[in-house]
């Protein structure tokens, strides 16, 4: 009897424990998605809703009302989508796409509830994007140095620091920063491929950067010859019966040029050739190593923890010291 009881109890415990784990992991997954949505919404809010001195950073209020008191989520949704007639609050439906609208609503909902809302991932009623209910894209401000590791990564016999690489990748003081053409996790330019999803090691990344003959498929260069006889090289973006559009990267920032088809004689791929000679970019050797460390998959090559000269991480600005010194 007692044995049975024990087994039953153990079984029950096992059962409840496993179901607890199942629901906890589902809850965790749900909460992760909610958090990602809120965090993404904050990015949009900070640049769109707090800017122009409207709702203020963190919704503290400004020219528009504060968003720090309880507001029902339905009202938030309605206001964000449809605006508030008679006030400067515009309708954002059709201006921002629905995934972004959902992120903003999630963030504002979290602000107005002191973090208790939302309890599920926000979806926009009747939006077509609900059909493809994949995970909400998270924009995590990858340009912030603090979002990358400060731990040095071994690259051959040398090493680079991912956070310093992130700073160089997104350095707004330089036109030759990678983000002028490439994005990382969705932030940055559309000309080269997004570099967050690479499966290359830091060493392989360094080899790619130093070998311009290795463009990713879909981003290779074309030579466009005009009927007038002149020709130019660029990265094709799109074409239809009327026009051909391509990125001219012979100077930075890149220029999207539109040519009438009637003016174009032919377009030929420059097979296997990367248009941009990355070796000419004014990176120091250490810049390059840091970038490789930032972009490559470390695969356990972390070799230690770095401490700044002051003994703590510099909190003042999201930038690597190395890039601070170079200025404009």
């Amino acid at each position: 009897m007692s044995r049975h009881f024990t087994v039953a109890c153990a079984g029950l415990t096992a059962l409840s424990t496993s179901s607890f784990f199942i629901s906890a992991s589902a809850d965790n997954e749900n909460q992760k998605q909610i958090d990602a949505q809120i965090q993404a919404g904050k990015v949009v809010f900070d640049s769109t809703c707090s800017a122009g001195s409207c709702h203020g950073g963190g919704g503290i209020g400004g020219r528009a009302p504060a968003l720090t008191h309880a507001i029902p989520q339905d009202l938030i949704t309605d206001t964000v989508l449809n605006g508030r007639p008679g006030t400067p609050m515009p309708a954002f439906k059709g201006i921002l796409d629905s995934a972004i609208l959902a992120q903003v609503i999630a963030y504002v909902s979290s602000l107005t509830s002191g973090g208790r809302q939302p309890t599920s991932v926000v979806v926009i009623p009747g939006s077509p994007s609900n059909a493809s209910s994949g995970p909400v894209q998270s924009k995590t401000m990858p340009w912030l140095e603090s979002n990358a590791s400060v731990d040095p990564v071994g690259i051959g016999s040398e090493q680079g620091i991912p956070s310093a690489g992130a700073a160089r990748f997104f350095d707004a003081t330089k036109l030759t920063s990678c983000h002028t053409c490439h994005s990382y996790a969705g932030a940055g330019g559309p000309i080269g491929r997004d570099l967050a999803s690479t499966d290359k090691t830091p060493l392989e990344i360094c080899q790619v950067i130093s070998n311009p003959k290795s463009a990713s498929p879909g981003y290779a260069a074309v030579r466009i010859t005009l009927i007038s006889g002149s020709s130019s090289v660029g990265i094709e973006r799109e074409e239809n019966e009327e026009v051909l559009r391509y990125y001219d990267v012979s100077s930075l920032p890149p220029i999207l040029r539109t040519l009438r088809r009637s003016a174009v004689k032919d377009v030929k791929p420059l097979t296997g050739t990367g248009i941009y000679d990355h070796t000419t970019l004014p990176y120091t050797k250490q810049d390059r190593l840091n970038l490789c460390a930032f972009l490559g998959k470390a695969r356990g090559q972390v070799i230690g923890r770095s401490i700044g000269a002051s003994g703590k991480q510099e909190r003042f600005l999201p930038r690597a010291k190395s890039s601070w010194r170079q200025g404009r």
């Binding site: 900070d46 020219r63 006030t87 400067p88 954002f92 707004a172 932030a187 001219d248 220029i255 600005l317």
Partner: protein
Amino acid sequence: MLGFREVHVVSRMRVWCATLILVGTPAAPAELTPARIAGAQEEPQNWLTFFGNYGAWSYSGLGGINRGNVARLAPAWTFSTGDKGLASAPLVIDGTLFLLTTAGKVYALDAADGRILWMHAPEATPGSGPPRAALGMAAAFGMLFYVTANNHLVAIDSKNGGEVWDVQIEDPVQCSCGAGWAPLLVKDKVIVGQASEAAHRGQISAFDARTGRLAWRFFAIPGTGQPGHETWPQELWRVGGGSSWYVGSYDTELNLIYWGIGNPSPMLGGHYAGDKRYTESLVALDADTGEVKWYFQEIPNDKLDYDSVLEPVLIDATIGGRKRKLVLHSTKGGFAYLLDRVTGNFIHAFPFSDSINWTPGIGPDGKPLEPLLQLSDGRETVVCPGLFGARAGGHSSYSPHTGLWYTTSYEACTPMRPVEVAAPVEGQAFSAATYGKSALPPGKAPYIAAFDPLTGARKWTVFTDGPNLSSLLATRGDVIFGGDVLGHFWALDALSGAKLWSFNVGSGVTGIPISYSVNAREYIAIGVGPNAYSLILATDLLTAEQQVVMPPVGSTLYVFALPPRTQGMQP
């Protein structure tokens, strides 16, 4: 009696007619060149650049519509865009009116009757944020240039609206910034300012008009090793603000561009020391290189967001028997500064607002006198002028015919309360105070006033129903055109301020009036319908009673003219 300008236009028409008879096809007007823009005063039938000329006068040399007959002004045609709001300034080039709408569409219309010649719709840019209304375009070389909500500068073909080139000025997500209110074409370059309230480093960029290539970039905050870098504490220079917001002016002889630079970040205070050059300055840049020829900082280490970004008005005048090249620069702080535009030397400053409590005045060195109003921790301080300054949107006008400068003052004040400033994060809000609703101090009312820029003497004052958020247009007919957010577009006597005419356009007027002529018939055009920015201002500056009677947001271009055969007649 026809004025001189009309005779000029008529004689030009005769030449065209002669050509028509000889060739049998209409002669294509000469392509718009920078030289023509430089001589814009010689062709008042056109409106070739944002302010009408490089001097930022917002003045039309047409006088057929004048203070004697403006009371008969009536709509000639209207054009509705279908957007919300319309506050941009059209361009008129040889009989075609080009209009940038709030949603970023561009229309080419027959300037005589509003017929659509072509329309350019921008490609959808999901996630680019709500349109920050661009206020106008630049043109030359058979192209039009405009900025987009997602911080691109775009060139389109002025014959058919086809896109030519498109360049991203700066990543708008990372910097949380947009482009300034309109591009300015100078020689072979298109120049654009930058607009942001976030932690960022302000700049002005020049692109080659024909190719779209970046020609130069002026950083409003000097980088390491550059003069003025030492005026910034620690690493603040990377995100210390200095947006330019507005549009500059240009002296063709000196080859200098004049552009106003806005507040330092954090906005509204903080405890960072230093003069923070070139924030709150008027800068004179070499048009070819973007190098600083001179600068004049109006407010060192500003802590009240008194953006020195308003239009720099170029005035030539004789002072003490000497011919002088001058620039009159007004700021949100309520003072107008008269400088020598060759050297940047300060001549004098005068208040154009009656509602100023942040400084006792401007000293002989051009700097604000102590004691400066300080925001105190833990309590509210009423600041005058308030958050939107004496004037934040809508530009002034200068009439060389009357020699007077015409401006608006909002007169409102704003209560502000300091908040703790976190470390700056690029592209994120960076402000040191929060604020309440603006209000008029007792006994004060918003007005439009005329000043002698050389002495600062006020010639007349007209109090208005609510703050005037429109730009002003002065004409050689001695009429000042403007409008109010309650839906009236009106004409004032440039000599006395008397209201001569008013027309109910059914939606708030916050746009930019211009004047042009086709076949010697003169027109006054105004975009009607407040854009999002103007609505923010209106909501903050209007009383509750006024907000109730504010008309709905329309989006229509109104074009007025005198009934046929009355133009040029006296009453």
